[in-house]
Structures are given as C-alpha cells and as structure tokens.
Symmetry: C2
Subunit: 412 residues, 2 copies
Amino acid sequence: MPVLVMKFGGTSVATLDRIKRAAKRVGVEVAKGYDVIVIVSAMSGKTNELVGWVNETSPMYDAREYDAVVSSGENVTAGLMALTLQEMDVPARSWQGWQVPVKTTSSHSAARIEEIPTENIMGRFEQGMRVAVVAGFQGVSPEGRITTLGRGGSDTTAVAFAAAFGAERCDIYTDVDGVYTTDPRICEKARKLDRIAFEEMLELASLGAKVLQTRSVELAMRYKVRLRVLSSFEEQSDEAGTLVCDEDEIMESNVVAGVAHSRDEAKMTLLSVADRPGIAATIFTALSDANVNVDMIVQNISEEGRTDMTFSCPTDQVARADKALAAAKADGVLNFSELVADTNVCKVSVVGIGMRSHTGVAAKMFRVLSDEAINIKVITTSEIKISVLIDRKYMELAVQALHDAFELDKAG
Amino acid sequence: MPVLVMKFGGTSVATLDRIKRAAKRVGVEVAKGYDVIVIVSAMSGKTNELVGWVNETSPMYDAREYDAVVSSGENVTAGLMALTLQEMDVPARSWQGWQVPVKTTSSHSAARIEEIPTENIMGRFEQGMRVAVVAGFQGVSPEGRITTLGRGGSDTTAVAFAAAFGAERCDIYTDVDGVYTTDPRICEKARKLDRIAFEEMLELASLGAKVLQTRSVELAMRYKVRLRVLSSFEEQSDEAGTLVCDEDEIMESNVVAGVAHSRDEAKMTLLSVADRPGIAATIFTALSDANVNVDMIVQNISEEGRTDMTFSCPTDQVARADKALAAAKADGVLNFSELVADTNVCKVSVVGIGMRSHTGVAAKMFRVLSDEAINIKVITTSEIKISVLIDRKYMELAVQALHDAFELDKAG
C-alpha cells in the first residue's frame, strides 16, 4: 500500500481533544488505503518547560543530557496518539527515535539524520499495522545516546521519513492553512498559494515566512518529497493547504510567487578598508568564527586603495560582529577607519522561479519602491529572488505596494 | 572503588531545588570514595498526570503504549539530576532503562527485571565517571519495547542494581525518616528502629507500612542487599534512618519488632458449604480467577457434612468476590447457603523474628486484647507474625495496647 507521512506540530497535539482530532485525520487517510507514518511533536509548551528546567539547572549544560531530557515530550505524544488510534480500531503503535532507529550524527541538540532503516516499520505494515506513530525531533547517536535535531526538528523528521519510505506525500499539519503570497498581517490582500516550488519555499522560509523549517524544505527538495502544509484546525479536502513541490508540477504561475520581509536585520558598514586581495576573506572569516550569520554583502568601488564594505546580519548579532571586527583590527589583520551599524533597517524580497525566464522584475521592483519614495540601501539578487534593505518604517508600505504591483492577489 | 546505590523517590525530586538537595547528598557519598548509582523516580505528580492522560485516552489501554508514555517522567529527572551533579563538578551521566539495558520480561506495566549487565556502567566508572544516574521503574523487553515495573517500581530498580553491582548498601531516600515500631499517627510512643530484619520488614511492608515496596524487600532479602531507609528532608549522618538487613547483623532485639495494622480489610464467610475434598480449591480458584487477593483463610469444624469457610480480602474487592462466588454457585460447582460480608473489620499484627525462639507471644497478644475487651474474629499466624481481625473501631486501642505491652517504645 502507498505510504503517507503526516506530521502534527505542538499546537495540533496540545490537548487530548486535539490529539483525537488529529487521529481522526489520520483515520481518513488510512480509510483511503494509505499506510501512514505519523510524526508528532511534544504537546505545545512541554518542550519549553523542559528546556527551562535544563537552563535553570545548568546554564552551560551538557548537550547529551539536554537531549535526554527535552526529547521526552515527543515520547508522551507518540504513545497517546497510538492509544487514540487504537481506540478508533486503527492498528497502530508508537516508536521512539532509538527504536526505529533514527540514526543521527553525535552533534547533540543539532544532530543530522544519517539513516532511517525501514525494515522494522515496513515489516509491521506487512503484518497489518496501519499507522506507525514516531516521536519527532529525536534520534540516536552512534554511541547509543539520544540526540535531538534542534528546534523545529519534527518537520525534518517527517521529510526524512517520507524520503526513506518513498512516501507519496508528506503532510505537515500546523496552525496556519498554507503558504501565502505575503504575511496576511501586513497585507490584507495576501492570497494562499495552491502550489509553490521547493526553491521558492526555501527562499521564503529563510526570509522569515515561518511556516516550515528551512532544513526540512532543503531535504524535501533534495529527495523530491512532495510537502503539503495545511491546518489541523479546519476540515480538509484533498486539495487543501499548499503543496510544496517540484517546479515541473506547477503548470501556470505568476512570475513572482511571493513577497517576504524580515524585520530583524542590521546593516553594518566598514569604512575605508584597505583594498587588497584577501581582505573579504579576512573580514568574513572573523565574522564566521564569531558565529555571525552574514546575509547580504556589498563592496563599493575602491578609491585610492581604500573601499567600503557593507553587510547585513540579524540585529541581535551586531554586538558580536562589532567585537569580532574590533579584535581583528587590534590584532592588526584588518585595517578600517570605522564600523557603522544601522539597526533601523528591514529586508524586503520578491521571490519567484518565473524570474529565471522573465526579465524586468528587478526594474519593476525598484520603480515601485521609487514611486513610494522609499530609498533602497542595499540590493542583492539571486536567480529567483531580489532583496533590498530599506528603512524599517517603510516595511509595510513596501510589501503592500509590491504585492499590488505584481498582482499577487490574483492566481497565476 | 566500592559502589553505593542511592534511590530518590518522587517527593525527593519534586522540584529543581529538591533535586539539588538530593544531588548534594550524592556528592557527600562521592566524597567518601563511593562510585554511586543514583536511581530516580519521576518528579512527584508527573506519573499521575501521565497515567491520567492514558486512562482518559484509552480506558482499556495497550499496556505497551502505557509504558512508553508513563516511563517518560523518570527520564526527565535522570537528565536533570545528571546536569545538577555536573554543575557541582561531579562527573555524572544519565541512563534510560534501554541504554543500560535493564532487561525485563514482556509483562508490560508489571515487568520483572531479568538481567542488568554491568559492563557499560562499570567501564565508565573505571574511566573516572563517579555517578551513574538511572531512570527507575523502567526497562526494555526482549522485543525492544519499553516496560515498566509497576507502581513503586523504582525501589525494585534500586535493589536490583545494588545486587547486580555488588553495592555496599542501597539507600532509599523518601519522605519518612525510617521504619517505626508502629504507625506514629496512631501511637505517639512509636519509635524509629535502627535496624530491622528483612523478614520483619517484609511482613510489615505487606501489612501496610508503606515505606518500602514488598517486591523490593523480597529482592533485597534474596540477594542480601543491605537497605537503608532515610529521609531526604533532613541532614543525614551515617547512622541515620533504618537499616533493613540480614538478621545476623542484628545483635540484640525485642522479641516483637513492630505492630502493624491494615484498615481496609473485609471478612467474608461462606455459610454451610458442602465439605468434600477439593472444595477449598474450588472456592479459592474462583476468587483468584477474579483477581481477589485473599489474605487470611479459616475453615471451621465440619458438622453433618457442611462447614463454614471464612476468608479476608481488601474491602474494595468484596463486590468482585461476591460476584465470583455467586457465579460458581450458579454454575453448580459450589454449594453454600449464604455469603456474609463484614466490612467493619481491621487487621492488627505483631511481627518479630524473636518469635522463632520465644514462646508465649501469641498468648500475651490475646491476653492484652482480652483485657481491653476486644473480641478476636479471626486469627492467623506465621513463623514471625501473629495477625488478628477485630472490629475496626478498636484498631487504635489495640495497636496502642500491644505497643505498650511489648514495650516497643524501649530499644531491645
């Protein structure tokens, strides 16, 4: 029988009633003939409680013990979900990470899945079991210790299972009903997308549309796992939610799929840097060593052997960046006159695979912002994305104007 | 280095502060030179919460899923205890049942420990680890599924580890400071015992002195594990609490060690039973099949081929006993005129290994009760125990009178 993976996040299993509701959705898919692998998160609030205890006990905690403690929330939900399904006469059992086993690296609290053997669960499917409920977010290291995949890791667990079992689809049940052309809280014309390409979703996810964890989308793209994002709080049809899939499955689409924004960006400029070969490497190695996530990078034209170097990073990493660059200057490996931080900026991006074949998207974007008298501070582009840094106070205006201009309220 | 097992119950690890307090006790033993195995229960209330969820989800639950859910509480405490010890610079790590592995039978929710391999933990002790924190109450079945040992199972886990590792002693930290000659709430002269023999403790435990689980005492007796019961809420010396040990270690002692009582007893009498061979087997097989825990059994002298058969069982099993015997009568396998239940009784017992060599204990007990005008309804005796059923209203009086008569307020 075809395999379907269904993942339920913390709010979807927050109470026994919600677990029952989720189990009914699983029952619907079983009735259609699927063997189902259900991936569950901890009941919402539980993981935070456990993390709080660990932090209070030991601020510089041993990550192996952290993993042993925080993984327990998913185990509870997995057992309760299996029991709920059994009450509905659906043959089901729970698996904890080490039982499958979900083999991961030893990077505790941030482990990567290396292998998911399928014999165990497939054997049970062949014997008539219809649902395998698996505790998400966790695995087991080569040393036999419990690992966790990092926050939001249950999405990654779901996609990895879908890939390993050759699932027809991986349905991610969450508290939103799909992926939107932009943030509906900012732009009331925001429209739910029926389909979106992996690449587009990846750009949107990393740009702050927090529907899916970036890692899980990357994994889905690599293994061509069709992902569906849908709400666990509404009655669902087969066409509900948003399907994240290969671009080949998307027949017609707008050139631009969506407008993303990110509020917590800072623009940092190093003034009068000595312009010599290797200088960029020096700067960004220092930042990388200090765990600063650099996003955009722009280098101005050089004058008299000096240049200005601009980059952006999350607002809460400004102090760290400052310290790392000051240290590099003190060590004599880097020479600049001043580091200027502008924390009053935001990033707005338009994303769409149609840009590959359509020209003029960038020109149109700049024209729209210019018509609204919004000054562009930094520009970067990729094959399917154009991003600009602008003053934060213009963020809503920019998003709404771009959404209108690219007619995102109309289906492509 | 010698190994010490320390077990902390739910109230002793109910909060992060109490876990810290318990960890300090562990630190004291480590400083003395012990390698310590710490067995922890779930934080108090947690297991009840989980059991409640399981029961609400599925009243006739799959015990395998029950075990997977309810075992999670101990995992949390084990990780937090290991982190607390690490914060105190005591090298420690946590083990879940399957990691040791604590190999049990497949009787989910009531599994028995079959084997505890020691290489894994001993190897870590040899490498310098000083404390192994083990989640109590749980193990793993031959099928690789999580099992639990039944309520109070953490005491059993502790004794089993002490036996497997040849520990010098197994300290059970709880919310009472030791074993008393009788219930201090009933008799203010009750005195804490410094030492008590396994056999005596076993009789007291099964008679309702709820300090230690009966199973754990049986196991300790079989493997000669010295058990110490002491409070986690007081500063402790090496001589604190009560040592449960082999009688050879008890030099001088009272003939009677303690007076036990049990409030929830019912006396059931089958009137005019046909007295033929096999009739007792028929009656008690029917009761056993209905899961009635029969305690005392008395058969009266037979007259004209009929006899009366009296037995006692817990009050809340009277209805079940009634039903089972009525069914046997309806089936024609049993013939009696009437079943009379008296639920207004209680059991009072005197226990002491000294009875083996001292005569007259029973006579003295009956005389004391008679002097207080207390009527004895049923009597049973074992080598080291004499129990009587009496009217419940006389329970306190009987306990106090016996405690005085056997001078239990004075050390032997």
